[in-house]
Subunit: 255 residues, 2 copies
């Protein structure tokens, strides 16, 4: 009997060329997980991921699916795969799901972006934060963030190279909060994100934080649908995919 | 005029073969700092360090000295060196000191050791913690720690290969505190430490934490001066040299 599993995967993106398996034999998370799971299950494995995180982007809650005819207890399978995975990736959870579960049909995702606003460079955190050296005003950044909330056309924040049918997305929440020391945590939750959209949001909000644009200018930038008016794409290393929610989970049902 | 500078140095020990310059051209912190400072100052530089941290051990407050005839403002010199250092090492402070300042004459040092007591392995913290998979009782660990405090002969905790004239040291404070999630922070302050002494303290305290020995057995282990009775040397990656204090600083005087 074919079984379907939902995997929750965490990884340190530093040494990966992103999530997605590629034709060239580069080290991607998908390739490493598929290969390791395939060795445990003793058959070829395809993992379909919910988000194609870019090179250098981290994840705490990437979601992927896997099918097998093998009758493995999910928890045993998880421990078996984890024991063979390299130290920069791990499976946090495996649950059996219905054959109809669609990993791409997420209803809500949360991304977090760490900004290091100190003059001194970060040391132990250097792979997980963006060291922002320009002037930084948290109040202005927060004001800018408010303009991202709501159902809007985010074409102005879409990176080149991966056009979508529609550029309208809903952002449920977008905030910037101080953390320990010079660390600032930017958090955004939405029903989906365009290519480079979160990093372009961060880059744009930082233009407000440093005083190059007014926080209220963000409304006009979004309305223009003009990528050249928004801020630059912030570096990958500050970004982490925190979690992905599905409709079944919102109903507290089995997926 | 010859000037003397005291450098406070932080580094991520993961990719270094320890602090000390070696005859083989391996990557050590001392070599990297000396080379970089030498390029800025345009003459050969010798940095004398306060502690010879081992391969893989981190530092937030290593101290070293440097001499030069060049008339550089300390803050400018620091920024110039930092701009050329690799991302895993940085100079946190440079102060001019008296020619008589002796970097080896520290009066107090603090080391911290991070223990990850969760069943799941650490991901983003993996280079900075020891993942301890055995049963862990913080209360028992704390009881064990108390036995390290005081002026004692620590011969039982001295690693092989670097004998000292005397193995008597004073430990002012030794504690274990819970941190966020499954993280435990072991902290020890003393007037000096023998080779591998902190890591052997951690290994011994963990034997008490897991129930292999009674916390009060630590007193007898120390009294025996027998290395074979103490616990194993805990891995380098959990250890961080936090700070080093000098007599002049205790008096709030210029060093």
């Amino acid at each position: 009997m074919l079984r379907f599993y939902k995997l929750t995967i965490a990884y340190d993106g530093t040494a990966f060329s992103g999530w997605q398996r590629q034709i060239d034999p580069v080290r991607t998370v998908q390739r490493v997980v598929e290969q390791t799971a395939g060795e445990i299950l003793n058959h070829p494995v395809i993992c379909r991921g919910a988000s194609r995180t870019d090179q250098g982007v981290h994840a705490w809650g990437q979601v992927a699916t896997l099918e097998t005819e093998k009758d493995f207890d999910p928890q045993r399978l998880r421990l078996a795969i984890n024991s063979q995975l390299p130290p920069d990736v791990m499976i946090r959870r495996i649950e059996e799901v219905d054959a109809r579960f669609d990993v791409r049909a997420a209803v809500r995702k949360r991304y977090r972006y760490f900004i290091w606003t100190g003059r001194e460079r970060p040391l132990f955190q250097r792979h997980y934060v963006y060291h922002y050296r320009a002037p930084f005003d948290l109040g202005r950044m927060r004001e800018a963030c408010r303009h991202f909330e709501g159902r809007r056309d985010f074409a102005a924040l879409q990176g080149a190279g991966a056009p979508r049918l529609t550029t309208v997305r809903t952002v449920f929440r977008c905030t910037a909060e101080p953390r320990r020391g010079p660390l600032v945590s930017f958090v955004v939750e939405g029903d989906g994100f365009l290519y480079h959209m979160v990093r372009n949001m961060v880059g744009t909000a930082l233009e407000a934080a440093r005083g190059k644009i007014a926080p209220d200018d963000v409304a006009g930038i979004l309305a223009s649908c003009d990528r050249t008016r928004a801020g630059p794409c912030a570096p990958a290393r500050g970004l982490c995919l925190q979690w992905i929610r599905y409709e079944c989970e919102m109903r507290n049902a089995k997926c």
